[in-house]
């Protein structure tokens, strides 16, 4: 490309080389720093507010507890404990199905036979040696089932 132009006898010369140098430097920088990350997703915990009800006379609902053990021979021991419910689903998919059946339908007129409303507190209680992946899988199963008030049980509680 000819960068020299003549205007009324005046020669204008643009030095393109440093400009191209800079453009290439920027290009290399962006190529080096760009990271292709998969999208992150988040679950909102109901943790610090648990146990602090505004009304001191309000009844404390007993949470639906999902107990998780440490993974042994490929499977995670899962136990669901609540009033009128005590089951041991074999997998996280089975756990999601069980919790879906346990949740009362919010559609007017529909009777799913579930015992718990969607806002009923659910506690995921992993053993201390339980994998974090398994703990999040159990949390995900409760979210899949439509529960909205889910937290992790703390060892001290």
């Amino acid at each position: 490309m000819n960068a020299d132009r003549a205007f009324n006898g005046t020669r204008v010369r643009l030095a393109m080389t440093p400009m191209i140098d800079v453009v290439f430097l920027l290009l290399v920088f962006f190529v080096c720093t760009v990271r292709f990350e998969r999208n992150e997703a988040v679950y909102t915990l109901d943790l610090p507010q648990r146990g602090r009800t505004a009304d001191p006379l309000a009844l404390q609902e007993r949470p639906l507890v999902i107990r998780l053990g440490a993974r042994a021979s490929g499977a995670v021991p899962i136990e669901v404990q609540a009033d009128g419910l005590r089951e041991r689903p074999a997998s996280f998919d089975a756990l999601a199905s069980l919790l879906t059946r346990a949740r009362r339908s919010e559609e007017p007129g529909a009777d799913s036979g579930g015992l718990f409303v969607a806002d009923h507190p659910v506690l995921v209680a992993p053993a201390r040696d339980c994998g974090w992946q398994d703990a999040v899988d159990a949390f995900n199963a409760a979210v899949r089932a439509g529960f909205r008030n889910i937290g992790f049980e703390r060892s001290g509680t």
Binding site: G9, T10, R11, V12, R13, L14, A15, P18, M19, D21, V22, L25, L26, F29, T33, R35, F36, E37, R38, N39, E40, A41, V42, Y43, T44, L45, L47, P48, Q49, A70, F92, D93, A96, P126, A127, R128, D129, C130, G131, W132, Q133, A135, V136, D137, F139, N140, V143, R144, F152, R154, S155
Partner: protein, 153 residues
């Protein structure tokens, strides 16, 4: 005194300031990239099947990272490292509380390596809860996971 216009004058565009500016921009971008990398280091997050979480989006957030290192866990917050012992967790809670006082609405995210056990992640939850108590604010705590169903952009 006016100079008489010459018949053949040459105008050279001085590109040196432009290049200076470009280099300044490069330095700026390098620093910003480094800072954002410290805030959100690459961690193998849990990947639940049939994920039901909501996308994190590009909103402002405070990320507490739990990294698996040397058979144990190290907690980081904005590039600062904290041990998992009592003193380290106290420092972490104070650091979170300081940031929450500046911006009480920012959600606090737990980004933990999926290979860790609950024993390693629980202190992070405790530190955030302790920070919320120190501030007296209602903090939103979130757990981060990877959307396995979403492909690489």
């Amino acid at each position: 005194m006016r100079r008489a216009p010459s018949q053949q004058s040459t105008i050279d565009a001085d590109l040196t300031p432009l290049i200076d500016l470009a280099f300044l921009l490069i330095v700026f971008f390098v620093l910003v990239a480094r800072m954002s990398g410290e805030q959100l280091p690459a961690i193998p997050l849990p990947e639940p099947t049939a994920i039901a979480a909501t996308p994190a989006g590009a909103t402002r957030r405070l990320a507490v990272n739990v990294l698996a290192e040397d058979g144990g866990a190290v907690l980081t917050l904005a590039g600062e490292r904290f041990a998992s012992d009592a003193a380290g967790l106290e420092r972490l809670a104070s650091a979170i509380a300081r940031r929450l006082r500046n911006d009480p609405r920012v959600p606090v995210d737990i980004r933990a390596d999926r290979s860790l056990t609950y024993r390693a992640v629980e202190p992070a939850i405790d530190a955030i809860t302790s920070a919320a108590t120190q501030c007296g604010t209602r903090v939103t705590i979130r757990v981060c996971a990877l959307q396995a169903d979403v492909g690489t952009p």
